[in-house]
Amino acid sequence: MNGYEFMFILDPTLDDAASLAVVERVEGIVKGQGGEVVSLKPWERRRLAYPIAGHHEGLYILCYFDAPPASIRGIENRVRLAEGVLRFIVLRTDKETRERDQAADLRRREERAARAAAAAAEAAAKAAEEAAGEAAETAAKPAGEASGKSGEAAARPSGESGGAAAEPSAETAGKSGEAAAKPAEPAAEDAGATKEAAAGEPDGAGEAAPPDGSPRNEEETS
């Protein structure tokens, strides 16, 4: 028995029941060939990098299973014939890699959620600022008080990085708008994680354009 990583893309136009049926059929193929499914979860619904069979979107399903090596060919051949599966890949893995991949996958998912929440909080703060600005124009008394606060905080985030911005905007968003309170809370919690992610990007940018960085390095070393 070997460990395998198995990802497949489902036809996104299928409804939930039909998708489930396809997944069950695929699971049946794996089991029918002597495989033991360790995990079978929807991974992501995402836009395809290029169209497959006329589809621009796909529902990615990620499965880990153990099976005898001789069964893989049979599994692949049968999955290839399965309707509703746009594409699939079967790769060897071991338990350690699987567990690490799953943990890393979860971490990335959380980071992405935190980033989205931070962006939502920022958007909410911006909306609050605009609303406050409008309110200030009409010189309404209760709105005028809020406009001073949220306008101040919303001005700051624009200059700072996304992660750092989440904190001040989250505070005022909670005060100025009830709708804003929901995305703002997780953003404040995960502000640390987003800051890290945001800090990673400048590094990448510096790396992508070595002409900027390299002359400096040379001077330092010489």
Binding site: M7, A49, I52, L91, P210, T221, S222
Partner: protein, 81 residues
């Protein structure tokens, strides 16, 4: 500034090998083909895989990146072009 001599002495460029460091690869000992955002850093505008000269990756890391990008392309996670 004002302290600087009128004719600055040209510093000779030493033939020191620069250390290959890619900040992205710090702490990465296995590249996951499903980590699309990470792999995207190694694709140029034309979706070509960055050469080692640009990616600043060691042989092992570059090989893992190359294989991971190709797998991601098969699964339409990354573009071919």
């Amino acid at each position: 500034m004002s302290d600087r001599p009128a004719t600055p002495r040209r510093r000779r460029r030493q033939n020191v090998r620069r250390v290959r460091v890619n900040p992205l690869l710090n702490g990465v000992d296995r590249v996951d083909w499903k980590d699309v955002d990470f792999l995207r850093e190694f694709l140029g505008d034309r979706a070509k895989i960055a050469p080692r000269r640009v990616s600043r990756a060691g042989a092992r890391a570059q090989r893992q990146i190359r294989i991971a990008i190709k797998r991601a392309r098969q699964m339409a996670l990354l573009p071919y072009e």
